[in-house]
Subunit: 202 residues, 2 copies
Amino acid sequence: MPVAKGATLDPAQTRASILRAATGLLYQRGLDGIGVAELCATMGVSKETLYRHFGSKEGLVRAVLEARSQRIMAWVLKAVTAAGDEPYAQLAAVFDALAQWHEEPTFRGCGILNAATQQHEGPARLVAHHHLDRQLDVLTDIARRAGVSNATHLAKQFLALRVGATVLADHHADTEAALLAKQAALALLRSAITTPAPAPRP
Amino acid sequence: MPVAKGATLDPAQTRASILRAATGLLYQRGLDGIGVAELCATMGVSKETLYRHFGSKEGLVRAVLEARSQRIMAWVLKAVTAAGDEPYAQLAAVFDALAQWHEEPTFRGCGILNAATQQHEGPARLVAHHHLDRQLDVLTDIARRAGVSNATHLAKQFLALRVGATVLADHHADTEAALLAKQAALALLRSAITTPAPAPRP
DNA sequence: CGAACATCGAACCGAGCGGTTCCATCTGAG
DNA sequence: CTCAGATGGAACCGCTCGGTTCGATGTTCG
């Protein structure tokens, strides 16, 4: 990353380095909160290099968000598999990982959803939609393997708790939001198993 | 709103008219998505008038957000009181109102939380925090009058479901998020009443 | 060595931003 | 009628933005 002056260290490596640095800066300051010039200056990279690798600021943002989505999914799946085979334990692990994330001092909400909110045109909304899809898949799988009949509905309730807790941790400085969301999710799973299949009544 | 040329219709009325128009525009386009010039042109108001009434764009934003928070609270309280005295019915009414809001074609998430996410410095975050406080008060009151022992915890879980459902309705185009959140909230309340007081186990 | 390549640094561009000012116009109160 | 006040319209200001271009510097490979 020092990148002397005319180093041909490896374009792919330069690209990865930019991606890594830009991820943090765009997350902390917001997509429109930092310009390309300051971005480049802070990363120690010239604008020409950035534009050769990503084409535009929007291209950089898209790459950052997609990489972030990948990283988050890997991190969630790792927590789930580390929790063993028990659906209850896996569900608890998802929310424990959430709590751990919320406690990081640099936490500022979900970077992907924040981006989609800031840039309400552009690729961020697509990335966010896809990202939520994948998170829902994980939760649906847990619910299904727990043997409930309405796994899809239950998973959506888990997901609402998950993103709701993240928003509260951010905008309400609620340090116990993830823990309470976990207890709520476990209670819902328990209730869904004892109660066979509640017909949806509006 | 026609406001011929030099009309002294009433400064307060002008202010209210600006506030009303700006609320919609800033919500739809985002705080940074529309400039003061376009804002004024669309509203049919001169920049001088806007700056005389609100001092700065940030002042306008603050006024818009505070008015919005007031309006939302009034709307929630109206739904709650219209639901009678039963805590269950009141809780259901809160989420039914949510569903109704999500179905509006102009729905774009919670304007206050969106603003706080877009403008992560500035007054929006304070308004958002206060707004969540007040929403939590309503839910805590419902939980308390339902006779549960851990009303505060339960209310935070309701709030997480509420904001989570709103985020999913926006970013995931999830039209049934509010309904599922309602069912989850009711199940949690039911479970909290049958189960006396679950000791918080981390 | 020499050609190709990647990079930095800086200058530059047009556009849009938030904000200010001036003035002609119109209204309502005295 | 007259005058103070509120307004619209337009020009203007300094600044920052995303993006482009150019030359100098250094590395890698044949």
